[in-house]
Every structure is written in structure tokens, then in C-alpha cells.
Symmetry: C2
Subunit: 254 residues, 2 copies
């Protein structure tokens, strides 16, 4: 039984892709089989996992718009137990191209019905468009990376409204996996204030693990490696391993 | 003759909104009249300039989708010479709602034909969707905030391709105003490497002024003030004033 987790937040630059890659690699390192779906036209998760643009043959676009078979779209990465369906620029026209498709919200859910991986992580673009709605419809739960900044907090209520709409509509089983604080700098008053506000508002839905700001995390993609391989002893790597452990425990793997 | 500048980059969280607000306030401080158009469904520029969600009556959505009159949509801010047309969540369905509209790329250009402000700054969402294409079609030039990080650099070529398509299509007059490095930390190898790569690739198109990472910039929105009022002596405020001066000089105002 695969656990499909949508990693989403319409606020840009909050660490969605970094969380997808790092958490994915940490879960794979614990022996779980992990499939990443790159739903972002920027294709950052694909680049960060080492699949160059010229090597992206059948992609998420083919899976959703052309009805390609999931097995044909999956490619390996340099990390054991971690595979990916890559993202490309043509995804940015998906909203318009799928306009008339009756099952346009369910295309990803239908495509993923055949997976056998322990975890499927969906990296979403920074918007609440059809691609993100497909992710929320296909997912069993949603993981929300939250930068401890003012604008990021402002967007949270809009995101929660969208999650509620999906739960009342195409995906009644959608749960909240949790909120994970990213790029956290405890010396900064604003960050501490945001943490306090979020824990007050969402309680146990906020993971105990906070991901600190760590330059090694922003360097890793230029070496096309996840942090767990680029610098396994870094604070960033250790934090994502702790997040993975927290998640595995909640799911009864340990 | 208004100068309409689209502030855009599909990469999320690179400082588009912060640049729109801070540069806008700095230009207004120099006596220029400035109009901000908030094209982002998140509405961050509207919040950052102090217009709360419940006070957003006629908005960018009304301007584009309902054909409201520009004059009716403009509201004042707490900053002299700086006004705004606010953004709201209903913008996120604009792509689909304007699907059948023949002039759907030109709606913003048509609406702005009546402006008399010295500068019109267009804050774009983190995507290359219809809202951003409207901004690129309406603009005389495009200003690209670029975070000195690996993924941000990766997205630059996709953005330049889109600019070229708009110039070959609906807006032959579109120029590049420039690239401004944001959240720049000179102690960080990656940042220095990105700066070197960008200046090599784009030469004089890169502004001399770099915007440093400065926590006061991320605090200002929670006080609904631009940095030039929240903390006029901060490095962030001084950097955006230098950017404004550089721009005014290029445009022959000084
Ligand atoms: N904990 C961290 N410490 C330092 N840098 C980080 C951290 N997490 C992410 N970054 C960097 O910050 C930038 C934004 O992160 P990322 O691209 O993962 O966010 P995103 O939410 O996926 O962005 P988008 O909205 O564009 O999809 C990237 O350059 C990334 O390398
Ligand atoms: N120079 C800076 N120093 C420190 N923090 C900054 C700086 N510029 C922006 N920020 C903060 O970084 C975050 C991202 O900036 P901002 O929201 O302006 O980016 P954006 O490109 O508009 O994001 P989006 O893609 O979501 O529209 C915000 O929380 C902002 O306050
Ligand atoms: Mg991303
Ligand atoms: Mg913004």
C-alpha cells in the first residue's frame, strides 16, 4: 500500500523541492522504496536528482496529458531506492490543454493507481493550479513546507481552504501529514514568532523537526546530489533524516 | 509617458514582491508617481503596502476579467506618490476564465493605456501563466530579480525564452530593464559563483547594485510598511534606494 504525499505550498521558494529531494533520499536511505513525481514546469527536482533536461524522455507531461504508462515514465536516480518521473517546461500549458477533459482533476490519481513504492512524493509548483489540484486529489496526505517568514504565514490559510475544498470534493481521504518549518534561523525574532503562531494554530500537525537554514542544502543541487550524499554530516542532512524518522514512526515503520 | 516595468521570474521566492514594493517606494521617495499592479493571487504586494484583504474592493481581477475602469481600481497606500491595484485569490482562475477571450494577452495593456503615472510596476506570480504573459505584453521592459542560488540560475534561460517569444509576438517593444541580484551574501561561494556566471552571460544588463540579505526586509511586511519607512537606515533600504537611483539615471530623470 503506497503512501502518496503531496509536498505543496503556493508561496514560492519555501523549500518544496528541497524537502521532496532530501526527505525522499532520507526515506530511501532507511530502505523504503521512493518515487518522486516532478509536477513543476521548472523541473528543479529532476535536476536536483541528476536527470539532465536532455535525458527526460517520457515525463510527467506525458503521464498526464498523453496518457503514457507510469512504468515507461519512471527513471532511476543516483540514489538507491529512489526513482523519479521528471518535469519539463511543457507542463506549464497543462491547465489549458486539459480544460475539456472530464477527469482532469483525477489524471494523476488514475496514473498512480498502479504504483508499488512505499512512498510517492509529489513536488508541486508554486501555485494552486490544476497540477497542484491533481496532486491533492491523488495524495493520501499533504506535507506543507513553511518558511518562517511573514508572507509564507499569510498564504497558509489560503492553502488550508484549498485542502478543505479538495477533501469535500474529489478526495475525501486527504489528510494533513504536517507542517515542517524550513530555513529556520532561531536567532531571528520573526522566525521564532512565526513558529509560535503556527504551533498555536496547528498544534501537533507541526513536525517537531525544524529544518535550519544551511548553505550546504543550496549547494547540493549544483552537484546533482541529495544532501544525504553531498554532505551527510551537515545540519541540513541530519535535519531531513530526523524528519524522515519522525514520519516513519508515525506510519508504523519502526 | 509612463514606464511600465514587469517584475518577474517564474522561480518562487526570489524577491519579486519585495523588489516591487521597495523599488516602488524608493522611486516615490524621489518624487516620481508610482502605480503598483498586484498580479499575484497571493496578494503579497497589497498586504506589504498595507491594504488588508477586506479593503480590496475593485481589484486586478475586476480590471482584467470584469473590465472595470482603471481609475476605479486604484487605491492609495501609506506612502506618498505610491498607489496600487490590489491582488486577490480569484486571480488564480484567470487562465481558465479568459480562455475564450480573443484579446486575452492584451487585457492588461489595454487597461493601462490610460495611466499617467511615471512608473507602473507589475508584481508577477511565480509562473509563466496568462497573468505573467499579460504583464510581459503590457510592459515596456522587464526587471528580473535573481536569487544567487543554483535553481534560480537554471530558470533564467526558460524566462529569457519566454521574453523572446513575447517580443516576437504581442509586444515587439519589450526590452530587458535588467537583472538584479537579490538576497546576496558575498561570504557564500555559491553566490559569488552565480554572480560571476550571470555577469559573464548578461553583461551590462546586470545592475551594479546588489540587494544584500537583510532581515529588516523580511520584517517590514508584518508592519505593512515598505523598507524605506520601516527602517530607512538599513542596508536593505539603502540598496533599494541605490537601485532606484541607478534606474532613474538610465531613464534620464537625474
Ligand atoms: N534549509 C535551507 N537552507 C538553505 N537554503 C535552502 C534551504 N532549503 C532550500 N534552500 C534553497 O532555497 C531556495 C528555495 O528552495 P526550493 O527551490 O526548494 O523551494 P521551492 O518551494 O521548491 O521553490 P519554488 O516555489 O520555486 O518551487 C533554493 O535555492 C534552495 O536551494
Ligand atoms: N534581501 C532580502 N533579505 C532578506 N529577506 C528577503 C529579501 N528579499 C526578500 N526577502 C524575504 O524572502 C521571502 C521571499 O521574498 P518575496 O516574497 O519578495 O519573493 P517573491 O519572488 O515575490 O515570492 P513569490 O514567488 O512567492 O511571489 C519573503 O519572506 C521576503 O520577506
Ligand atoms: Mg520547487
Ligand atoms: Mg511575490
Amino acid at each position: 500500500m503506497s503512501r502518496v504525499v503531496a509536498i505543496t505550498n503556493q508561496k514560492g521558494g519555501v523549500g518544496k523541492t528541497t524537502t521532496t529531494i532530501s526527505l525522499g533520499a532520507a526515506l530511501a536511505g532507511e530502505g523504503r522504496s521512493v518515487l518522486v513525481i516532478d509536477l513543476d514546469p521548472q523541473g528543479n527536482a529532476s535536476t536536483g536528482l541528476g536527470v539532465m533536461p536532455e535525458d527526460r524522455d517520457l515525463t510527467t507531461y506525458d503521464l498526464l496529458v498523453e496518457g503514457a504508462d507510469l512504468g515507461d515514465c519512471i527513471v532511476g536516480t543516483g540514489t538507491a531506492n529512489l526513482r523519479i518521473v521528471t518535469g519539463t517546461g511543457d507542463l506549464s500549458s497543462a491547465d489549458v490543454e486539459l480544460m475539456g477533459e472530464r477527469r482532469r482533476l483525477h489524471l494523476l490519481a488514475d496514473a498512480l493507481s498502479a504504483t508499488t513504492d512505499d512512498y510517492v512524493l509529489l513536488d508541486c509548483p508554486p501555485s494552486l493550479n490544476l497540477l497542484t489540484l491533481n496532486a491533492l486529489t491523488a495524495a493520501g496526505s499533504v506535507l506543507i513546507p513553511l518558511q518562517s517568514e511573514f508572507y509564507a504565514l499569510e498564504g497558509l490559510s489560503q492553502l488550508m481552504r484549498t485542502v478543505r475544498t479538495v477533501r469535500e470534493g474529489p478526495n475525501p481521504a486527504l489528510r494533513i501529514e504536517g507542517v515542517v518549518l524550513t530555513m529556520f534561523d532561531g536567532r531571528n525574532n520573526l522566525a521564532r514568532q512565526v513558529e509560535q503562531d503556527v504551533r498555536a494554530a496547528m498544534g501537533d500537525l507541526v513536525f517537531g523537526t525544524r529544518i535550519p537554514r544551511n548553505v550546504r542544502l543550496s549547494e547540493a543541487p549544483s552537484f546533482a546530489q541529495p544532501i544525504t550524499e553531498y554532505d551527510p554530516l551537515s545540519v541540513g542532512s541530519r535535519a531531513y533524516k530526523a524528519l524522515a524518522a519522525e514520519m516513519l514512526k508515525r506510519h508504523g515503520w519502526t
